[in-house]
């Protein structure tokens, strides 16, 4: 069931009515039943994997907590202290670590087999059979949301291991945390401590909350149907034919692609967060005006925030403090000096995280290159930061708005250029860079080639106005105040004009129609 479908709206309406009609103690079981139904609507077999992840992480978390409690009781019983206590606790920690690693191997193993088998077979094909493409590829469907729920469930397991949270004893309550239906499709990836209690609270109908949720969903539909899906055909044509579309088309393709990705992903998240809000559940935000970032590092703090938080907490910090990192740091310090020793864990952890981020986004070497290109830019920026700070303190104009705008544009450009690695080989990327800067002829954007993009003048106008509206909303969010709350605070007719205007825009300007596959969200494919 797509988030952008009549079935989903009908499903949501029926569920909402039932949810607020039922007594509080039946509300969360209803959400669980709805989540299972929602998941089953995407295919019955995939739920086997969701159940496997849910049951294994639930069971192992309980086991970890039992080990912790037993160890504490034993320390008390035996009256251990000092060195004896530390030795005993270290032994228990080792055992717990084995349980944790078993859970991680099982769940990430499942994800790896389902998502990366063809990538592996493709490499075997190239290495041993000359890349004929006739190798023994598999035809497995990727279970809906597997990357998202695997990350969420393993995050929970790691948190229980670190004693940050208590294990959930009730399997059904835990299953709702893993499978909660709006967010299983494309995140956000929540932490147990911020979501689980909210899911099982009983709630009364509150029109204000519902209104805010509906408005958020409407804004998501606008971004997805009016902006993302309308520009999609032009993006597909340019991206698939890089040799034909050079010069000005590289720029157009780049901006159109980023507009599509932004509208598609943030629109989808708006629908998810809005749908959860209808039930009084507040999911974590996944974006914070990413295209106002003044550096790539800032961009990655504002884009897909819950994935980056997960990677930071569960990969970046653990890898940087691992024994391997410490050994590397010690060796670098001995042979290359203090600075290298300090940097070694950072480089090691950054490369690990960006390799994972790359491969998470897609099972191909292009995504690995994309991840490493991001990593390289971030580390070079870090190394240049003392120089940059001196430059800024020397020249007062670097504090001006104009310079800030330049930095925002530069970050946008750097991000867009790195995105090219997702689609093309190195030689194509560099030839496109060359064509972008030295092969621009504005008059290229006319005639047959422009028409072949598949968008009429009216389409370009709609896309342009949608982009302007998204930009204006981004500006209005600068002070941190909710745009929706401000709209609801407007006088009656103004409020009516804004809300129904947006509603009409979605109805009239949205991309629908026969033969049109209410297109999948880009980030559903993970």
């Amino acid at each position: 069931m797509l988030l952008v479908s009549y079935e989903f709206l009908f499903f949501l309406a029926v569920l909402l009515a039932l949810y607020y009609l039922l007594p509080g103690r039946f509300q969360w079981p209803l959400l669980l039943a709805a989540s299972v139904l929602f998941y089953l609507s995407g295919g019955a077999f995939a739920i086997v994997f969701l159940i496997t992840t849910t049951v294994t992480t639930w069971f192992l978390a309980l086991r970890l907590e039992a080990m912790t409690e037993r160890a504490a009781a034993r320390v008390k019983e035996l009256g251990l202290s000092g060195g004896e206590k530390r030795a005993f606790q270290a032994a228990v920690k080792q055992k717990k670590k084995r349980v944790l690693i078993a859970g991680l191997i099982l769940n990430f193993g499942l994800l790896a087999v389902l998502k990366y088998t063809n990538f592996f077979l493709g490499n075997v094909d190239v290495l041993f059979f000359g890349g004929s493409g006739e190798g023994p590829y598999v035809d497995w469907l990727l279970p809906l949301g597997i990357s998202y729920y695997t990350f969420q469930a393993t995050g929970y397991l790691i948190d229980v291991y670190h004693k940050k949270i208590h294990a959930q004893k009730n399997l059904a309550r835990y299953a709702l945390f893993v499978s909660f239906f709006p967010q299983i499709v494309q995140g956000p990836i929540s932490r147990f401590d911020e979501l689980a209690a909210q899911l099982t609270e009983s709630r009364r109908f509150d029109w204000l909350t519902i209104r805010l949720g509906l408005m958020r969903m409407l804004w998501g539909f606008f971004k997805k149907l009016v902006a993302a899906d309308r520009i999609a055909p032009a993006v597909a044509v340019i991206v698939q034919n890089p040799d034909q579309y050079q010069g000005i088309y590289v720029w157009i393709g780049m901006f159109a692609y980023m507009l599509q990705m932004f509208a598609d992903f943030t629109g989808g998240i708006d629908i998810v967060i809005g749908a959860a809000q209808l039930f009084g559940i507040r999911l974590p935000e996944n974006f914070n005006r990413p295209f106002s970032s003044r550096s790539l590092a800032e961009f990655w703090r504002r884009w897909h925030m819950t994935l980056m938080r997960w990677l930071r907490e569960y990969i970046f910090f653990p890898v940087s403090t691992s024994r391997a990192s410490q050994k590397l740091s010690g060796a670098a310090r001995r042979f290359l000096g203090k600075g290298a020793g300090r940097r070694a864990p950072l480089y090691f952890a950054s490369v690990t995280v960006w390799l994972i981020t790359g491969i998470w986004h897609g099972a191909s070497w292009n995504f690995v290159a994309w991840g490493l290109a991001n990593c390289a830019v971030l580390l070079i920026s870090q190394e240049c930061s003392p120089l940059y700070r001196r430059f800024c303190s020397r020249f007062a104009w670097t504090a001006s708005r104009g310079y800030a705008a330049f930095e925002v544009a530069r970050t946008y450009l750097v991000f867009c250029m790195i995105e090219m690695f997702e689609y093309y080989s190195f030689d194509v990327v560099f030839s496109m860079f060359g064509s972008m800067f030295f092969g621009i002829r504005p008059w290229q954007f006319s005639g047959e080639l422009a028409a072949s993009l598949g968008l009429s003048a009216a389409d370009w106008i709609v896309v342009g106005l949608s982009a302007l509206l998204m930009f204006a909303v981004g500006l209005a969010q600068r002070d941190g105040r909710s745009v929706r709350e401000r709209i609801f605070a407007l006088p009656g007719w103004q409020r009516f004009f804004v809300i129904y205007g947006l509603f009409l825009a979605v109805l009239v300007l949205g991309v629908y129609g026969q033969g049109y596959d209410a297109s999948q969200f880009i980030y559903n494919q993970f």
């Binding site: 907490e313 910090f317 020793g341 950072l346």
Partner: protein, 79 residues
Amino acid sequence: MNYREELLEILQDINSEADYETCQDLIGEEVLTSFEMVMLVAEISQQLGISIPPDQIVPENFRSVDVICELLERLAEEE
């Protein structure tokens, strides 16, 4: 043991221009980024011999120099 002096020295080494002493929200004000946190943790491990486990690398433990000192004292005691 008080680690304040050593800690300030390490921090100044990472970024000599930041005002670590008076800032009470190093993470929120982005005075200390996650990259710098990793370098700080590596340096603490090498210079002071205190290993900070990953579950302790949370914003609440790196809010200010005093808070980081408290963390180090606690970890040194546990070791």
